[in-house]
């Protein structure tokens, strides 16, 4: 059964899209990540124009983050103050990102930038995660594990504009979360990702936030940043496909049910190394696409005239 996507202007198999949403849902259930970093490339592989893929992923992430944050909110795992500071940064970052996106699209470089960003980020994060999880697996085999410090103090803690974050038990410069929010906001606009895969490590390693509040706080601010991206993309580029977003979402909701059950049966380090391998796999596929000679050196951009 095919469905015609009104904004992407292509006809796709409903079950393929539902299946893809389902797979992303399983991943988000298993690993606790949004899965935007896999969604956008998969949509592009399916033939959805890159610009529509990025904008629609952002729209879909709004929904998955809302359902994710509710559970964390009930358990009190959201640092509201930290979330709001990150959000201010994220708001400016994503607005700048959409402007950059529009500009790059005009110069015909948007596909390249999307691909390159994916290769760089997925490659870095995948390698770091794999390294860390393999070490953790090896360490768990040896009983004499060293206790590591919660976080180290470095030059980052000497920055001005200090602020107290009670829930995170931190007294740090507001510039840090602002900067992180800003950078991740740009990524959201350019790559159609929630940015959890960058935000979470940054919160743990750069800010030194306790792990318990990291995911909830990150989800909280992702809702607003992706909503901002959705709105700006709808306004500037008209590339948000609601039909595609809803279809993906239905699959993702069902998939996440199974994902949570599978996740409960696997160990943390094994999960992380699996996720790392998957991230590296997508990274390699995208890197190969950049290097291999394309089927046609010429490509066409339409300047659609609207009725």
């Amino acid at each position: 059964m095919h469905v015609y996507l009104p904004i992407a202007e292509i006809s796709v198999n409903v079950f393929l899209v539902l299946g893809m949403g389902g797979m992303i849902g399983v991943l988000s259930g298993v690993f606790g990540v949004g899965g935007g970093f896999l969604m956008t490339p998969l949509l592009i592989f399916m033939g959805v124009p890159p610009a529509v893929s990025v904008a629609t992923s952002a729209n879909q992430i709004v929904a998955s983050s809302v359902s994710g944050v509710i559970a964390h909110w009930r358990r009190g795992n959201v640092d509201l103050k930290m979330g709001l500071v990150l959000l201010v940064g994220g708001f400016f970052g994503s607005s700048a990102g959409v402007a950059l996106f529009t500009l790059l699209r005009r110069f015909g470089q948007i596909d390249l930038v999307i691909n390159l960003s994916y290769v760089v980020f997925l490659g870095t994060i995948g390698a770091l995660m794999l390294h860390e999880s393999v070490r953790a697996i090896l360490r768990s085999r040896r009983p004499t594990a060293r206790r590591v410090k919660l976080h180290q103090h470095n030059w980052l803690h000497g920055l001005p504009l200090k602020m107290r974050f009670r829930r995170s038990k931190l007294y740090i410069s507001a510039l840090l979360p602002l900067g992180i929010g800003f950078s991740v906001g740009i990524l959201t606009a350019l790559m159609g990702v929630g940015g959890g895969f960058v935000m979470v490590p940054a919160m743990i390693y750069l800010l030194g936030m306790p792990t318990s509040v990291v995911v909830g706080t990150s989800l909280f601010q992702i809702i607003f940043v992706t909503a901002n991206v959705t709105f700006l993309q709808a306004l500037n580029t008209q590339t948000v496909d609601v039909v595609l977003a809803i279809t993906l979402l239905v699959g993702a909701v069902i998939g996440a049910q199974f994902g949570t059950q599978i996740g409960a049966k696997l160990k943390g380090e094994q999960l992380r190394s699996l996720l790392a391998l998957m991230v590296l796999g997508v990274c390699i596929k995208l890197a190969v696409d950049l290097v291999v000679t394309p089927i046609d050196l010429y490509s066409v951009d339409l300047h659609v005239i609207h009725e």
């Binding site: 009104p6 390249l112 000679t293």
Partner: protein, 255 residues
């Protein structure tokens, strides 16, 4: 085969009916009569492409050429080049009034037709009038040619330009018919279907029929909403996502 024979019969009947309707003028200069099986293609939610039948009759001997051109747009063709191992778009050329869709069908070879006529009526992919908007007046012809060919190759690959010349079947040197297929990614707007009746290499009769391709139903509504009221559409997309996410969380809680 049987199905084809039946549809041919139907075509014949339709054409005869057309003749009957035009009875008083049958003996006048009406050397060419043609019509489409449908004058509108509706892109619905389940749209996967469409196929139309063009049929008609001719009086006397000659060649028939049918061209179908979609709404004209401007297009930018980009060329990739390897820079530090990576393929990057480095050059581009803009073309104006490019047909968004093109198909041609003919009885016999298009090569028998006068090249000027072919160029004027855009008969065949190599005779499409694709005019570049040149920033540099000294752009070599070779360069224009390769961008032009790149454009055509891309359109053919996406099914928007039919590769080669389609077949027109003729029955007893009077009735003819041909099929035109449209892929799922067709552009909406008014298409032009032209039928030429050619004798000794130049057209003696021509008939043009418009064809409308439009979106209908939910898809059309969403598209119009997104393009005419972008800000409200953005808000709508966010509200839908928030509600869907909240609903999903509610269901999860019950389970």
């Amino acid at each position: 085969m049987k199905q084809q024979a039946v549809s041919f019969l139907i075509t014949a009947c339709l054409v005869l009916a057309a003749f009957a309707a035009a009875a008083p003028t049958v003996h006048s200069q009406q050397d060419l009569v043609a019509d489409l099986s449908d004058h509108e293609i509706a892109i619905t939610t389940g749209f996967t492409g469409a196929e139309l039948l063009l049929f008609g009759a001719i009086e006397g001997e000659g060649q028939i050429v049918v061209t179908v051109t979609g709404p004209r747009q401007s297009m930018t063709v980009r060329r990739k080049q390897r820079v530090a191992g990576i393929w990057i778009n480095t050059a581009s050329m803009r073309f104006q009034n490019v047909p968004s869709f093109y198909a041609v069908a003919a009885t016999g070879s298009l090569d028998d037709i006068d090249p000027d006529v072919r160029a004027r009526q855009e008969m065949g992919l190599d005779h499409l009038s694709l005019r570049p908007v040149l920033r540099d007046r000294d752009t070599p012809q070779d360069e224009i040619k390769s961008f032009r060919e790149g454009l055509i190759r891309n359109q053919v690959r996406h099914g928007l330009y039919a590769a080669g010349t389609g077949h027109i079947s003729v029955l007893s040197e009077r009735l003819f018919r041909t099929r035109v297929s449209f892929p799922a990614n067709v552009v909406t707007g008014i298409y032009t279907v032209s039928v030429y009746y050619i004798r000794n290499g130049s057209p003696v009769h021509a008939q043009t029929t418009p064809l409308r391709v439009s979106k209908i139903g939910v898809g059309a509504y969403v598209f119009r909403f997104a393009h005419t009221n972008s800000a409200a559409y953005g808000v709508f997309a966010i509200v839908i996502a928030v509600l869907a996410g909240w609903l999903a969380a509610a269901i999860f809680r019950k389970v």
